[in-house]
């Protein structure tokens, strides 16, 4: 398959190769005009009817429904926590997803999700080709929606072509104007829904309406309005062809066992118009009605073979089936099938192959690992940092003191009074300058981090203890919640002056 700059030319490779070949190896005359840019060829996709169109309707309803409604879903987490089911609280540095709450240092869960997403994409692609592109990619879903708006206001393919060709008159102005207005409204709603993921939805909705929402909300809505309107309304298939890297990666995902939307050349050729009553012997089933081209949102001819532009939306299958029914030939002249080998033979679809087994295994492994760590993580964590400067302080009584920065993470939604105990040091005492109350009690607010500056001191008498043989001793800070009994520990060292030999 051609790639990069040769993309647009590749569509002629199979079917129309003959026509182009007649031009022979012409050498163009000097001064031939080279346009500076490729102008967009307008595409007027016709409405298809059939199984795959119905699947696409269903997926559009489900994906858009999730996107628009999810932020409004409530999920009770008790007091001291938001009740929005899915919330990315950036100022508060918390991600909420139903019963899961992610802290900034646990962002690797998001990384893991991205890796899982990538692997799932690889698996789906190696099995069924570009199903992501064809059915669920936001670019495809929104473009589909925008095309339906166009169709609803301006009519189907032929009427849209006519409208575009006719001079600007009242009908054209109001139809075109209304189309763009509805597109803009959808675009605004797209940006509007996005920002609700980042703040309490009802509150933000109210703020947006009365004009008191924070500036980033308006900026995000503006940016999304612009991108949705231009990508879904104006650029459409050009996004897939020129901007998206995914079509370029496809080649590495397909193989001869992958199911792809493809035209059955052996059955279809030689193609040609067919009149009712004429025999079918000696000709192919393709009646060259070009309905597969008419419904294609990418504006290509599937009969030219696999192409970079094809997002495998399968609408051409629906279009062709309708025609096959009408002419009385079997359905699925265009269908999900493996690619034809050079000899014209097609291999049987094989879902279980090394590639798919590896992808599936990795998905199970990584997913399992993430799930395990998510289920076993504690809601109480501690970390401690030993002072680097000075490493230790010798006191007037000969004792040695070390300074530490102790951080205690309370991931529960209740305040906690924790007891600190120090393990590994003989005769140790805890000092907290300018702190009121017992030094071994640490209070952490709900869903918060307590940063505690503290010192440990050991008297001179124990410095000869074997614990300090290496000039430092391992020390464990153990925090216990007397209420629940849950514990957290952090490890560090206690340094002493090196002994004179």
């Amino acid at each position: 398959m051609a790639q990069g700059g040769m993309a647009r030319s590749s569509r002629m490779n199979n079917g129309s190769a003959g026509k182009a070949a007649t031009q022979a190896s012409a050498v163009s005359a000097p001064g031939t005009k080279h346009p500076l840019y490729k102008s967009r060829e307008p595409i007027y996709p016709k409405l298809a009817h059939g199984t795959y169109r119905r699947i696409k309707w269903a997926i559009m309803v489900v994906t858009l429904g999730i996107y628009y409604l999810l932020p409004w879903l409530r999920f009770d987490r008790g007091p001291n926590a938001p009740d929005q089911a899915v919330l990315l609280d950036l100022p508060g540095r918390r991600f909420y997803f139903f019963w899961i709450e992610i802290w900034p240092q646990e962002v690797y869960y998001l990384t893991g999700l991205l890796i899982l997403g990538a692997l799932a994409l690889f698996l789906a692609t190696s099995l069924f080709g570009r199903v992501w592109c064809g059915y669920t990619c936001p670019q495809t879903v929104w473009t589909d929606l925008f095309i339906h708006v166009e169709r609803w206001i301006q009519g189907d393919r032929n009427r849209r072509i006519r409208l575009d060709r006719q001079p600007w008159n009242f009908e054209k102005i109001w139809k075109k104007g209304l189309t763009h207005l509805v597109w803009l409204l959808i675009a605004v709603a797209t940006g509007g829904a996005w920002v609700f993921y980042f703040a309490d939805a009802p509150t933000l909705m109210h703020e947006l309406l009365v004009g008191t929402a924070p500036a980033p909300a308006y900026i995000a809505i503006g940016a999304f309005t612009f991108t949705t309107y231009s990508l879904g309304g104006l650029m459409r298939e050009q996004v897939c062809i020129y901007m998206c890297p995914w079509p370029r990666i496809q080649g590495a995902m397909f193989d001869e066992y992958t199911l792809l939307v493809s035209y059955d050349e052996q059955r279809g050729e030689p193609r040609g118009p067919h009149k009712k009553g004429e025999p079918w012997e000696g000709r192919g089933d393709c009646v060259d009605c070009r309905q597969c081209v008419a419904v294609c949102p990418m504006g290509i001819d599937i009969r030219d073979g696999p192409q970079l532009e094809c997002i495998q939306c399968a609408l051409c299958i629906d279009a062709c089936d309708e025609i096959m029914d009408r002419v009385g030939r079997p359905r699925r002249l265009i269908r999900y099938a493996t690619l034809a080998t050079p000899s014209g033979k097609r291999l049987e679809f094989k879902p279980i192959r090394p590639r798919t087994v590896i992808y599936a295994t990795l998905i199970v492994l990584i997913g399992g690992l993430m799930l395990y760590s998510l289920l076993t993580r504690s809601d109480l964590e501690a970390s401690v940092l030993h002072d680097r400067n000075p490493l230790y302080v010798r006191l007037s009584d000969g004792g040695v003191r070390n300074g530490y920065q102790l951080k205690v993470l309370n991931k529960s939604h209740d305040a906690r009074d924790l007891k600190l105990s120090i393990e590994g040091l003989p005769a140790v005492s805890i000092l907290r300058p300018l702190h009121e109350g017992p030094a071994d009690r640490i209070r952490v607010d709900p869903d918060d981090v307590a940063a505690v500056r503290l010192y440990l001191k050991v008297p001179k008498a124990v410095l000869r203890d074997s614990a300090f043989d290496d000039g430092e001793a391992e020390v464990t800070f153990r925090l216990t919640d007397p209420a629940s009994g849950s514990q957290a520990e952090a490890h560090s060292v206690f340094r002493v002056p090196t002994r004179r030999r």
């Binding site: 005359a29 080279h34 650029m235 400067n389 000075p390 006191l395 007037s396 000969g398 300058p433 300018l434």
Partner: protein, 303 residues
């Protein structure tokens, strides 16, 4: 380009003339959106030329630059940001000014601000001698420990930072003299040696018991005036405790001999000459918070 260009058989599109191992590159046009963005970038650059400083100009004396229609420069922005920050801090600074030391340490918010501010000021002003971790060095006291020449309460530390030590331009400066007893011919070399043995004996490190006995009289006659008969020092004259494990210049016999023979007179500037009172308060609180600060009357409740 005048050279005749080859057209690809299959696509009917001209080639660029580049060829690698028989593979030729088609001269496909760029997509319109790409070209438009490219033009928009060129336009944007021109807008920037007009709005922001861009062209160097010679004004007759030196090279300067066109200021642009907005009339601002990144340097102006920095200065404005600094002024804004100073204005923000002013509120806190004023509160620190108004509140006595004991009050600051009882207000957690004010205390946090004071410690943060004190830490920054310490790095800028104190670290060259006392070290970034306030760990000191020979002749420069370690501020983390609990041995204080001139007292370790908040007020003592504040007084020391404000007026300095042996800083003659400040009439309230901390002042005392550790003479060079050999240099000034008050004691003989043997007498100094003996008194060094006596001092070492406080920490159980004397090597010559007879010298200790001989040194006792000299110590009682001369040294005890400041260091006390028991060698525990005197915070009012900055005389160090000679009986503990902390030695400002070093606790080995040679260094102690050097100290007694030639004297010591460490100095610290009176910082009130350079810093504002609020910063000095912050410094005092920061140093006190390092772990060695002693409870004074005002902080006794907090400790």
């Amino acid at each position: 380009m005048t050279r005749p260009r080859e057209t690809d058989d299959v696509t009917g599109i001209e080639t660029t003339g580049h060829e690698w191992d028989g593979i030729k590159e088609l001269d496909n046009p760029l997509p319109r959106w790409w070209v438009n963005i490219f033009y928009a970038c060129i336009l944007g650059a021109i807008v920037f030329w007009v709005l922001y400083p861009s062209w160097p100009i010679w004004n007759g004396q030196e090279w300067t630059f066109v200021r642009g229609v907005i009339g601002t420069t990144p340097r102006d922005d920095v200065e404005k940001a600094l002024a804004r920050q100073a204005a923000q801090r002013a509120r806190w600074q004023e509160q620190i000014n108004k509140t006595p030391l004991a009050g600051i340490v009882k207000d957690p918010e004010l205390l946090e601000f004071a410690i943060a501010g004190g830490k920054a000021a310490f790095g800028d002003n104190c670290a060259p001698c006392h070290g970034t971790g306030a760990q000191g060095g020979p002749g420069f006291p370690n501020l983390n420990d609990d041995e204080w020449l001139w007292g370790g309460t908040l007020d003592d530390i504040h007084q020391t930072i404000t007026h300095g030590i042996r800083w003659e331009s400040d009439p309230e400066t901390r002042m005392s003299i550790m003479q060079g007893y050999l240099k000034d011919q008050i004691l003989s070399r043997e007498e100094v040696s003996d008194v060094v043995q006596y001092v070492l004996n406080f920490t159980g490190r004397a090597s010559d018991p007879q010298a200790v006995e001989r040194g006792a009289k000299t110590f009682a006659d001369i040294c005890s005036a400041c260091h006390g008969a028991d060698g525990k020092g005197n915070k009012y004259v900055g005389a160090p405790d000679l009986t503990n494990d902390i030695w400002l210049y070093g606790g080995d016999p040679e260094t102690i001999f050097e100290t007694v023979a030639n004297g010591r007179a460490g100095q610290m500037p009176a910082w009130i000459e350079r810093l504002d009172p609020a910063t000095i308060k912050e410094l005092a609180i920061y140093v006190h918070s390092l772990g060695g600060g002693l409870p004074g009357e005002e902080t006794a409740a907090a400790e």
